[in-house]
Symmetry: D2
Subunit: 339 residues, 4 copies
């Protein structure tokens, strides 16, 4: 940590800051520059006192230097991604893992049709919402436990493991009984109780980046789960909120190389929520794979025009098959494979 004194700070203030650093048990290294004086602070857990130093007389601001996440951080000089197996689906290996399925579970027949369709298309995993976070209280909120049961049936029939969102700490145990992987949605990425609770189940966690979360925030959310003893985390970029309204969100694909540089956890991209338009899903999925993503999450519906939610961003089963076929050469072009 570096304490930056105000330009022209008097000697008394500089001395006071140095003393304060020592009082906390840290070492203080003052550096007297041309325009201003800074004090480098050395010690463990200095960050916990960052705010206190900011309040000392004559201090302009305190610059954090090191990264606040430890368990999620890539170890020095290690370049491999941690491979995470979720039943038969593998994230972080040479094969691009594709999670596909409807936004929400709506009916047994529909779900079965989609599950079989996406398995035939080459998906590694099934998705489907049983508990739905909806902006309006008047919208369909999901089939809840009945939806979980349908997902389990579709999973068993197709052999695809499934992931589903959990929104409430009270349901974590229930959802974990059914699902192969728990999804923490964008709106709950900083629901810290939910992160800890999901971490304690030991189930793999699919962690979506919040709409206004920095990449560092995402890694800190992963750190919550990891510090609860669960290292099986898959990170998902799904678009951030910006001024651009042509797409539902702004898919931040640069997050892929940034994450690859900073963490050992696998990275998945969701172009369905990231763009909000079915016609934008194939090009952005190809882009994600080309950028180095380890997997994709895409919404597929047997009849998007009748979907209760997210129809406009859902591929049909037929479109999904084409999508997977078109992705294969892109994956190969970057040394990966789709199957």
């Amino acid at each position: 940590m570096v304490i930056v004194m105000q330009p022209g700070a008097c000697e008394e203030h500089v001395e006071g800051a140095i003393q304060a650093v020592k009082d906390f048990g840290f070492q203080a290294h003052p550096i007297y520059g041309v325009n201003l004086t800074v004090i480098a602070v050395v010690g463990d857990k200095t960050q916990e006192h960052l705010e206190a130093f900011e309040l000392l007389p004559g201090v302009d601001h305190v610059a954090r230097i090191d990264k606040p996440y430890k368990l999620a951080a890539r170890r020095p000089r290690v370049t491999e991604t941690t491979q995470i197996d979720v039943s038969s689906a593998v994230f972080g290996g040479p094969k691009i893992a594709v999670i596909a399925g409807p936004c929400a579970v709506e009916s047994e027949d529909g779900l079965r049709e989609v599950a079989e369709g996406v398995r035939a298309g080459g998906a590694s995993m099934l998705r489907g919402g049983a508990y739905k976070p909806r902006t309006s209280p008047y919208s369909f909120q999901g089939m809840r436990e009945a939806g979980l049961a349908l997902l389990k049936m579709a999973s068993q029939r197709t052999g695809l493991p499934f992931v589903t969102e959990v929104m409430d700490t009270r349901n974590v145990e229930l959802v974990a009984r059914y699902a192969d992987m728990l999804q923490i949605g964008a709106r709950n990425m900083q629901n810290f109780s939910l992160l800890s609770e999901a971490g304690q189940t030991g189930k793999p966690v699919f962690l979506k980046r919040g709409m206004s979360s920095t990449i560092e925030d995402l890694l800190m959310a992963a750190e919550y789960i990891m510090s609860a003893g669960n290292e099986k985390i898959i990170l998902c970029e799904r678009g951030i909120r910006t001024f651009e309204t042509a797409t539902r969100n702004t898919l931040d694909l640069s997050a892929v190389p940034v994450l690859k540089r900073n963490t050992h956890l696998p990275v998945v991209v969701d172009p369905s929520h990231g763009t909000g338009h079915a016609w934008a899903v194939p090009p952005m999925a190809k882009a994600a794979v080309a950028a180095g993503a380890d997997g994709l999450m895409v919404e597929v519906h047997q009849a998007p025009e009748r979907a209760v939610s997210d129809g406009p961003q859902s591929l049909t089963i037929q479109e999904f098959a084409t999508f997977m076929a078109e992705l294969a050469p892109v994956a190969e072009a970057v040394g990966r494979t789709m199957a």
Copy 2:
């Protein structure tokens, strides 16, 4: 709702869209313009089918016309704000309600000192965090129930009602037993389970705007609580996330006149979280009152340099007294009062 056809859409597609509207039981009013054709859709709950229309062949997009919130909306030609009483504190009346206290409850002595200080300064209500949403799992997470008990004691001693954040559905009942008002924090504004649960307690709810939430999102979150049968909601602007880093968030004070125009609920501003700097709190608090806010939430600490969180944005007890004195003429200048 208005369905906008693509430029040059063929007659068959226009007819198809009209038929689809009728099939849903709505009226269709096609309007043939110079450059394109639009179809106005008339009926109740047309919004639930917006996405389905977007997927019809030849449709460019669907424009939503009416507002999605009903209970939170200001009634036509009614200009009054709904007054909400939380024990002795009144929100939405002529007096500016000031909620003050530490970011987190840390100790009995500290809390008592702050509570007595802010009451002496003229606060209407006490605040203090017992459960803390912290970006890092390694930071202090709050005193939990012990913190609630200390808040209750400080409240009884000073006669000030208190508000505290609830972060987990499992704690709603417990927190509601102690607190006079429940706070839903920015990170949980779209934690829909928590909104419903808080709504069902019947306790007043202090609802903070999410960092990436539009004003409409905030009103939809209020709608969740109201549709659960609880109309006692106070809205709080506390800053949104933008590219500017000079302040912790960008306090969107224009939200005050926008909310005043669109909802009958009282509006409070939190300049402490909105700016992140104690030196910016007094000018922005004055600005909030001048813009028409019904109240303020400010962080006050007996010794900010020793605070476990948010020290740099906390006023001292002495500063709080000055702050209140300086606010009084501003409140009077806009026809309000501080006491």
Copy 3:
């Protein structure tokens, strides 16, 4: 255009708005909905009066329905991109056009080395800044006309046409005498005088998206140039400003499919400015090609650690060769070619 009346607007106000529409010479189609009344306005150039309608009594807001750009718009049912030839470089054809070179022209030797290096690597066009927009007045501002002359020499020696930025209307003619294509930078995308002036030269224009410009803003800027009689425009996505600080800007690759859907102009992506880090350029360039971009602009420097600007985002000549080799299979995977 659709005039949306306030909920509960009285009959008199609705009648007044209808009359106002007629007074402007347009047709008014009122539609009486369940919750509110809207008035569809039909006629040419209705948009010019949008603001006037917004001010009528009882009007809530006016919804624009059609797109404000005409010349830049894709014609109905036409899917081809307009191919633009800039000397030997072709944009919008099957081959991915790559523009490469240093951020700024610094010296004859350095430029020659880079120009020969990027030609050997397979670039289609040379870039280099002679006039530099620098945030600080104390930074190097470019070699100006001497830089143009060096670019011309390097271009003649290598046979690569070149593009360079013009920042001042007074220099447009001069720059156009040297350059094969004029670049309008992000900071000048809404410098409307410069757009018109560049348009009038008849030279192809390379138009970069502004940091806070929507895709529609970008197309309106293109419309400025096109309405000045110049249809040879190449659009460039180079990142927008968001809250994320891990990258210099947030490269909005979704702009590629959105632009492909809405305009017939070729689309180029600049991952150097879009990310700010040389290590992020190769993955994001691959992503851009996979997403359907027609070309790339990348910064290459013979010795990035000695560059006067943008060193950290510049590839070395060696890295550029590897970069091009790695791009080839990605281009082929989406039916394009690098050479």
Copy 4:
């Protein structure tokens, strides 16, 4: 400047970085921390080499410590604002300076009516656009020199000095012959040629913050003008671009206290462009004054419903009079005056 080495950087890389610092003629102070090593760099103009250090092997990033603006910066321990006189209008003194007038000059009669109206209401200065930056090439572009002449006439008749926007370096001299102050608009805030040219006229410059510019960017733009020898600069906050669409821009009023802390230049707020709605102008103007702004810029039109641009955000002459009357007690509440 502080060079932050990667976690686990080897000794050789640390030594290399130290040597590189010395090679540039600076002092290097390595600090060996618990988790990482940093090297403080001391010397003048170290910032010019920041990027070079970023490229050294083993370096994670380089943290800038000191502020990049010098002339615009508040001097240590000096709290006064520099007072700038523009003819009879004074910015930075106890009186709040109000600049008022139409968005665009449209006619002699209209302008005269507004000019007399705003003088009667208490404005200090007249505004009006002769050259208009319009998003669409099909919109009214301004009366140009004829507009300047009308402004001059209105100014002479009322005794109010006037400010008008200059958009093109070629017009700076012409505009400077007529106007008392030159406005650099938001879209041209980083048109560095224009900044330098405006600086060289010696006329006071009214510098609007760009829509995606940080406060530091704004101060760097001021630095451009100041380094061209012109210290008479008035800064204007007019809203930034964010995801919120309820207002035209997001007025960042926190910029007022931030600027007051960092620069000695006067600060004006433009709530008309900042909000885009006439009904939001009075509350946000009051908020600006309460936050400590030195002045306001507001759009006033004799008949907003007939304005060629920005009608919805313009006050009528009558509304302006009320506006000024309502501002007076707010100004007094913060120790200022309106007249």
